[in-house]
Symmetry: C2
Subunit: 205 residues, 2 copies
Amino acid sequence: MPQQERSNETRAHILEAATDLFARHGYEATGVAEICAQAGVSKGAFYHHFPTKQAVFLELLDGWLAGLDAELEKARAGAANVPEALVSMAGVAGGILAAGRGQLPLFLEFWTQAAHDPEVWRATIEPYHRFRNYFSGLFQAGIREGSLRPVDPTLAAQVFLSLATGLVLQGLLDPEGADWLRVTREGVQAFLRAYARTGGESGHR
Amino acid sequence: MPQQERSNETRAHILEAATDLFARHGYEATGVAEICAQAGVSKGAFYHHFPTKQAVFLELLDGWLAGLDAELEKARAGAANVPEALVSMAGVAGGILAAGRGQLPLFLEFWTQAAHDPEVWRATIEPYHRFRNYFSGLFQAGIREGSLRPVDPTLAAQVFLSLATGLVLQGLLDPEGADWLRVTREGVQAFLRAYARTGGESGHR
């Protein structure tokens, strides 16, 4: 097998082993040695790919966020306009909650450590800023196409992200506490009643 | 000094010492012995008031939530109707964020531990349910007085709490990332455009 391919495979084994061990034993209780043992790689190979255990976690987070980006793009590409895209994105929430289910203790544990490390903290905050820019751009497009009212798109994006963050957090904290997919759909409808030009309907082309 | 008064004072000293030590050294790194030393009380006195260190944390959380309840009630009592109350409550967000500033690492650390203890987890989730009931009741009153549209008040409360939770979380994670008080005001206005009968205005009595 070519060297590049073998290297990619090693990386994938490390990420897979780390995912499993973090979920089963937590972040703090999992050491690089255990990850290496389960992945069947040497410590040398591990440190060739990742400078620290933290870097492994951040890469897992990146992968999860990249999947989310792709789902949002798909929802947008398949929609006739921005309000339709938002309604379609509400359906993505189910996948986010399913993927995150049972992972909250792990995230909390990681963030607890990240809170003491400004560099890691910045890396975990950065996706928020990226999503804010994404939605700000989306709302700008909605204003341009005439489907959204001419509001401040950044402020609207901050409101939208607050709603989305709160929904995901509550869904993870308290999965049985509500029908979170229904609440998400209602949240998007409320957002559209507040920001869409025709009161949440999208057939105005 | 009467015994009851001395007992209340001991309790207050313990809570004060714990607040200071948790903030300075974190939850995990603070032991009951250190709390007792700083509070100037015996371990016997400590355990007379609190079964565990966790109980101290939960009492601090309760105190913070009771302050929040009181502020919400004050906002409601001073308002002519429910939309006005919500606008006035947006102003409370500044106080919540100020009180929580710098406390996020501590909360994360506590929740990390709580995540492994179903009983403590329930105690930390319970306030969410209480707030949901509070806002559901508030929105019911708004529907009754004719200021809000006749929606499902529980669903509206879940949307409102998602928005509020997301705002507080983002404000604590990323205090410099936005003018969170402005975003909060915009969020309440958006909520009212979506749910108020007269599009967010409140002068319809």
